[in-house]
Symmetry: D2
Subunit: 140 residues, 4 copies
Amino acid sequence: MQDYEDTRLRVRYAETDQMGVVYYANYFVYFEVGRAEFVRNRGFSYNDMEKNAGSYLIVAESHCRYRRSLRYDMEFIVRTRIKELRKRTIRFSYEIIDPSDGLVFAEGETVHVVTGRDGRPRSFAPEFLRSFESDTSAGR
Amino acid sequence: MQDYEDTRLRVRYAETDQMGVVYYANYFVYFEVGRAEFVRNRGFSYNDMEKNAGSYLIVAESHCRYRRSLRYDMEFIVRTRIKELRKRTIRFSYEIIDPSDGLVFAEGETVHVVTGRDGRPRSFAPEFLRSFESDTSAGR
Amino acid sequence: MQDYEDTRLRVRYAETDQMGVVYYANYFVYFEVGRAEFVRNRGFSYNDMEKNAGSYLIVAESHCRYRRSLRYDMEFIVRTRIKELRKRTIRFSYEIIDPSDGLVFAEGETVHVVTGRDGRPRSFAPEFLRSFESDTSAGR
Amino acid sequence: MQDYEDTRLRVRYAETDQMGVVYYANYFVYFEVGRAEFVRNRGFSYNDMEKNAGSYLIVAESHCRYRRSLRYDMEFIVRTRIKELRKRTIRFSYEIIDPSDGLVFAEGETVHVVTGRDGRPRSFAPEFLRSFESDTSAGR
């Protein structure tokens, strides 16, 4: 399996601001959509993790660099990767890519900590780690 | 106590769209802020209702008429009223008002149903009804 | 051409609230996505209309009835129709549908007025009217 | 004048997610509100800059570290500072603070580039630099 996941989206009017571009916070929504698809396509879902395993992926850190303006109605790709996987934390990286020329609109990272229902950090379930370690084995 | 509640807000950049005005769905966020303050100032809060009483105010219907453009950085008032209170439903009305001249940017309504944790309709708690009946006694 | 347009979407985490369901204002975002696709698939786009024709579709009214809870990660269809087309106004109707059983999560309407760059009402361009009149000819 | 600006806000229902906390992207909306107030209280506004000076503050980078959960209806303070001011870039830092105990919910930074209407980088207006240099003179 390739070590990244591409999700194709289109900018909504709701996501623009009066400057005529995507409002800067909304890139993190795109990252979330990419991250969810990445996880789902490896057999997991946030809902399963939250409801069945009682595990929550709490965001500890987020970061975005904006390169080019993304505008209303434009189509783009969210390319999601796992950059680092540890016992209790996972770091995803993202690129927002123009499908027509491969140029990058924005790129970013998020770091997540696994917690239980009580909000305390815990370790990832072994099957979760196994599913994702192939994505990180390339030493990216 | 007056039968309406005024909440003063200012338009955020995040709430505008590329037309340079507040995106139409965000008026419902303003309505929510007004509704929460209305309820809070009568001794209730959504959190109390949800956590202690196990009561949820589910939205059943929402409506907005847009009269004049509301733009970035403008200050405005959300004027919230109870339009109708029944055993299991409550209808709020809202006006988004220009504090400088009293003109109306938008006006709307929301209808809510009380449910328990199981999602089933239930009646309002008696103390809730007592607190709000004075707001509706004027036969508005 | 069929007189409605179906757009398939999936609920984002960003769109949920602490009740675990889609926040009520976000249905209007879904309506916007459906409306944009409806218009795009008939050869128009908001961007063209705004930039080339100098025409803006200002929202005059919006309405939604919520029937069943839509939750995180659920897939759904936005079914968009033109309910009424006049010289200066257009009324869209929407249904948010469960693709697995056809049941309706929510339904709503929006009314739009055409204006020029100056914000004044104007008439639709003839080619716009021609493109959409077949969608309304069934007397829906 | 103090070198920071405190803006008091309250968490809206719209800003929570199904985990019962503020959705991670919304902290950047809070940063924006703090930044706008910081600039406004020094005699500028985004609107003036955009309309009169034809200057746009484009976001080049954003970052947030999440320390403690911020929940619905909680009041909090956005403390905004200028961390660095150069001829063409400005770096703001933010803390989201619990007013009851001074503890930090989250902290972050944004970097902005000044551009003209054509999207090209330009220098800040001299009066803008003068207004803000006192905020950065402490060598923070």
